[in-house]
């Protein structure tokens, strides 16, 4: 049924800024239905990787494939229509539209309109007719996520969805993600700094450091690798 074992795959992805390689020959393959965590210190290349996979990066080399299909040449619009959605680290919503309007707008390009389901799951149903700019930061983060979730994409790239959220809000969000991903069979690649979120919902974790993959394994395996600990501790000492 599927053309490939992998829902989303990047091969030999490299992105340079001048002489500096933000991403250096990274290959990553996420099987269907997996929730994969992507962690690493600041500057590791996580955002760059997300940008390459989502079509935001302009100059890069390598290949990106969805279910075996090469989408390297596609822009963001085409990738979305092919079933690849992403959310953003810095909240990227439509401030003056109501929550309802923008979610339905996003749903209109997908094959199915599950706006009501998404709004209910993310606790936005009561706020549906409020302007996005008028709701709380936490609600806006969830809206950013909702815009990616609506229409049931095949692959979800999430860039620090819990950024700025309290511990409790983050765990609630994590629970929702795990639940929806399980029900819908969506493949997720999740960039996060919040380790609680990562370890609670990801079945595998990839660690990036200085533009290369440092380690790859289950959450338990990862947290035991000394290099990972060093990389994280090393980078947090300014």
């Amino acid at each position: 049924m599927s053309a490939s074992a992998y829902a989303i795959e990047g091969v030999d992805m490299t992105r340079r800024f001048g002489g500096f390689a933000a991403l250096d020959g990274v290959s990553l393959a996420v099987p269907h239905g997996e929730i994969r965590g992507l962690i690493g210190p600041n500057g590791a290349g996580k955002s760059t990787l997300m940008d390459v996979l989502s079509g935001r990066a302009q100059t890069w080399s390598g290949r990106v494939m969805m279910d075996g299909r090469d989408i390297s040449g596609m822009g963001a619009v085409e990738r979305r229509r092919a079933g690849l959605a992403r959310s953003f680290q810095r909240t990227n919503i439509f401030p003056d539209l109501t929550i309802d309007e923008q979610i339905r707008l996003a749903a209109a390009t997908a094959e199915r309109d599950n706006s009501d389901e998404v709004m209910a799951e993310l606790g936005l149903a009561d706020l549906a007719h409020r302007r996005a700019a008028d709701v709380s930061y936490g609600d806006q983060r969830r809206l950013d996520l909702a815009l990616a979730l609506v229409g049931r994409p095949k692959v979800l790239l999430l860039d620090e969805p819990a950024a700025g959220l309290s511990m409790q809000e983050s765990m609630v969000l994590a629970g929702i993600l795990r639940d929806l991903a399980g029900r819908w069979g969506v493949t997720v690649l999740l960039v996060e700094h919040d380790m609680e979120v990562i370890f609670s919902i990801c079945s595998r974790v990839t660690v990036l450091h200085l533009g290369k993959i440092l380690a790859d394994g289950t959450p338990d395996e990862i947290r035991r690798i000394p290099e990972v600990v060093t990389a994280y501790l090393g980078s947090s000492v300014e």
């Binding site: 989502s54 822009g75 963001a76 619009v77 979305r80 229509r81 959605a85 992403r86 953003f88 990227n92 919503i93 439509f94 401030p95 003056d96 539209l97 309007e101 923008q102 707008l105 996003a106 209109a108 390009t109 997908a110 302007r131 815009l147 990616a148 229409g151």
Partner: protein
């Protein structure tokens, strides 16, 4: 403080807006029967044509968030198209329809290229467009008589109607007023449609719009073309009424005035620019009698309105209306 473009377009309640529109529409239709003075009717007709032009420029500002200093080009091109098509022997009916269609098609083609340019560079580009056409029609005397302008030889009957309808103030006011109301209604419906919501979304966050699966160039180009079509309609009305066209109809200062009308009236509202057009026209006529320094007066008004009253007169009226109604939401 200043939220002319960045602020949200006002999204009015359905019944309130339609009710007001119907009332104003009816009032306008009654006017020619009530007012006898040909002078006032002439002024009202010209004010209404102004209002159409302002509505086009204002709509672009509202939906795309971009400022065009070149929309007079579409106004003037339409007037000149009417003149030239008639001159070249086309039936007046064809000339009238093409006078709106041709500039709109051109605007669509141009729009697809220039809506990719964001911010102030776009405004500068539109200025150059107006300038280019102005120079063309000014200097190419064989085509359009240059600065002396062209008279339009309309036949006696057009679309089965007596041409005099378009050239008498009383009847022409009716025609223009109906056209204005129809345009406002049409734009309002468009703004409330899914397409209207999309263009607002693109205006607010073009990147995210692409990430939720929408191409962003064509919708903006279509808005540009629609706003151009409205200005072209204004140009057509101008040509019908005056029977004469000159390069002044293409000058960027006319666009500038239209922009000022939109700002004065309130660009967040669909009907704001039209109100601004009427206000501006009457101030101009009143002031024109008192002073030669009309440009400086406009300049000062623009500065004051931009800084002190960015919602425009229309915006203030809406705000007052809401306060009176006990702060009922939209």
């Amino acid at each position: 403080m200043t939220d002319i473009v960045a602020g949200a377009p006002a999204r009015s309640g359905r019944s309130g807006f339609l009710a007001v529109l119907v009332v104003l529409g009816a009032a306008g239709c009654v006017l020619p029967f009530v007012v006898q003075s040909a002078l006032i009717l002439t002024l009202m007709t010209q004010a209404t044509i102004n209002a159409v032009l302002a509505t086009g420029v204002g709509f672009l500002l509202r939906q795309n968030g971009t400022v065009s200093f070149g929309h007079a080009a579409f106004f003037g091109l339409s007037a000149y198209a009417t003149a030239l098509l008639v001159k070249f022997g086309f039936p007046a009916e064809v000339a009238i329809v093409m006078a709106v269609v041709l500039p709109t098609l051109f605007a669509l083609a141009l729009g697809v290229v220039i809506v990719r340019i964001t911010g102030v560079a776009f405004s500068m580009l539109t200025l150059a467009v107006a300038q280019a056409f102005h120079e063309l029609f000014l200097k190419w005397r064989e085509l359009a008589n240059g600065d002396d302008g062209m008279a339009i030889a309309f036949p006696a009957r057009v679309f089965g109607l007596d041409m005099a309808i378009f050239q008498q103030p009383a009847s022409m006011f009716l025609v223009c007023w109906v056209a204005l109301i129809a345009v406002i209604l049409g734009l309002w419906l468009l703004a409330r449609s899914r397409f209207g919501t999309l263009t607002l979304a693109i205006r607010e966050n073009e990147e995210r719009a692409r990430y939720i699966g929408y191409r962003t160039v064509l919708p903006r180009a279509i808005i540009y073309a629609i706003s151009a079509a409205v200005c072209a309609l204004g140009g057509l009305l101008f040509a019908l009424y005056n029977g004469f066209v000159s390069p002044g109809t293409l000058h960027w200062s006319l666009s500038g005035e239209a922009l000022i009308m939109a700002i004065i009236g309130g660009p967040r509202l669909i009907w704001g620019p039209a109100l601004g057009g009427v206000i501006f026209f009457f101030i101009k006529n009143a002031a024109g009698d008192f002073t030669d320094h009309w440009p400086a007066v406009i300049g000062v008004i623009v500065i004051l309105v931009t800084v002190l009253m960015p919602r425009g007169v229309g915006g203030v009226l809406v705000w007052l209306g809401r306060r009176r109604n006990g702060g009922r939401g939209e």
